[in-house]
Symmetry: C2
Subunit: 352 residues, 2 copies
């Protein structure tokens, strides 16, 4: 395989993301009716379960539900319900199972048990004929189209969008947020060529990097988790996601000039924490890459990957993950690795 | 400083852990009365907040409250309440602030806001005269004694014990669990010399390790997080904690013979997931260290660090973290690093 072919599918799926978001938006009325059904049941706790990129998207859901309808949403423990069989009362909850394949065994089993216990159950999956969809009362189809690369991209961004649209309808702000997602899809399409050029330019100086931290806080913590996972699975970089504040509680001690940090900055109330973390990182001599819609507000960094601001700060993660996806692909190619088929992984994970 | 002095305080604080647990147990009646007050208020959602080792202990709290009184407990987002000022309804909740110093700014502010919003607030801190304790309606004093090493040890294990005792009293099982904690403290005291010998022997072959995964699931996920944090802050190893299942969803692709994995196995319903993960790790050629109370049940590993089983499987994390604490100290010394004062860290983190 020539180096140019490495990650061809992964790269084309990144480029399909704007179109995938448009397809999801065609289901906005269905999402609105699921929100209405959910409102009438009156739960006040949202429990999200998933693994890998789906779990990363759930980190975003915490903020989408917290900031729009002001509901508490959590990434629930699958182990407690499925493995330990603990009789928690889930009857006043919404359980959302997240799985692009709809076949992740313990996520399906969690939803089966949550429904039996009286929770309102929702599947968010790319396969509306899957076991997960059958187990749930309601399904939001991701409509990302077939995803062939093992490293998820368009199913991740469509999961973010599905969660924020559901949250928006619960808050009576469906139309405004749907418009924002549509506009973010356009901005993404316009920005991908520049993002790709920046990512290619950055890959070479990072070609020998063995470890990285990826930091974000609030709405962008999901982005930090997802970029770290892309670097782990496609580039074999030991990349760890941290909140900007948790970095200061210990991990900053591990940094040195060979241990760079990717920092995602948003123009919101978390910006001072990210700026303060960047200052502490610089004191260790570590290289800092600033990305996100407030990348320019992080001073004294070696590399800046700017991201256009969407209509709503809450929608920034739809855009800010894309430079990281592209960087992972470019870095993998520099290292002769294939992001379409990382060694030891299969697309559908049937692990316990 | 001679190599023998490196980490002298850290090591002595590890050895103080059994006595620290005994001191906490003297406050069992106070913990019982906090549980009674909490029962009478009737909340059904526990929100825990903390950073670093305190947040790791909160991961254990999810299982302590889930398995004993069958209450839902979550690691809540501080950002949503403190930074984004989102008006979540916390009135039907218990908010538990975890901070050994009691001075972590956003944890204190979270508790102030949670109390104003009607939550029952509890501080778990080593300083009952701290801002955190003043902000809370009730305080559980950790009684770990002064902790001087920057890397937390005895405040971590006492936080685990405080959470499980509170959970046990909520379930009407206070006496049984208090006995179990007392017995675990004895087992810890008996085992530390053997743990230390094993840790010293393991440090040399790992002296050039730059990155590691630490895996656990269920009750031992907290242990995985805490051991990874010790390795990051004291040894500058890029150590990432993962659940056994999340490892299979991507990160396994990063493994190779120079990227070892520390696996914590418990003799409970999560054991098959840990065994399956160990099998997949071995296929990559990576070195596996099996630890935990079911270490012997993980086949074909290069190193085994056995841990005695406590009376209750739920109490295993009190013991299984200790070999990891000692390994981090031994590895730091081999590398000429001082676990008492890792570079760039201070004991009280006042970051945003």
């Amino acid at each position: 395989m020539s180096p140019h072919d490495l990650g061809r599918i992964y790269r084309s799926e990144i480029e399909e993301q704007p179109a995938a978001l448009e397809r999801l938006l065609e289901h906005d009325a269905e999402i609105a009716s699921i929100a209405a059904a959910l409102q009438s049941r009156g739960p006040r706790l949202i429990r999200m379960v998933g693994h890998g990129s789906s779990d990363n998207a759930a980190s975003y859901g915490v903020y989408a539900f917290g900031l729009l309808p002001h509901w508490t949403a959590m990434r629930d423990s699958i182990t407690l319900t499925v493995h330990y069989d603990s009789p928690l009362d889930l009857s006043n909850s919404v359980a959302i199972g997240l799985s692009q394949s709809g076949r992740t065994p313990d996520v399906v089993e969690y939803l089966v048990r949550a429904r039996r216990s009286g929770a309102f159950t929702i599947a968010i999956t790319n396969d509306p004929a899957s076991d997960l969809a059958s187990a749930a009362e309601a399904t939001i189809p991701l409509e990302a189209g077939s995803e062939q690369a093992v490293a998820a991209t368009k199913t991740y961004t469509n999961t973010l969008a599905a969660l924020v649209l559901l949250a928006a309808h619960l808050a009576g702000e469906g139309a405004r947020i749907a418009d924002g997602v549509r506009r973010a899809a356009e901005q993404m399409a316009e920005s991908i060529p520049a993002f790709a050029r920046d990512a290619e330019a950055l890959a070479l100086p990072f070609s020998y990097t063995g470890r990285m931290f990826v930091i974000g806080r609030g709405v962008e913590f999901a982005t930090a988790r997802e970029i770290a996972l892309k670097l782990l699975e496609t580039c074999r970089v030991a990349a760890e996601p941290l909140t900007a504040t948790d970095l200061a509680h210990g991990p900053v001690a591990a940094l040195d000039p060979l241990f760079p940090v990717w920092a995602i900055a948003s123009p919101d109330a978390t910006l001072p924490a990210v700026q303060e973390a960047a200052q502490r990182i610089r004191e260790t001599g570590a290289t800092v890459v600033a990305s996100g819609t407030a990348a320019g507000a992080v001073q004294g960094v070696q590399y800046t990957l700017p991201v256009p601001a969407p209509d709503e700060p809450l929608l920034s993660p739809l855009l800010s993950v894309v430079p990281g996806q592209l960087f992972a692909g470019a870095l993998a190619r520099v290292r002769g690795l294939d992001p379409d088929a990382p060694h030891g992984l299969s697309k559908v994970t049937l692990a316990l």
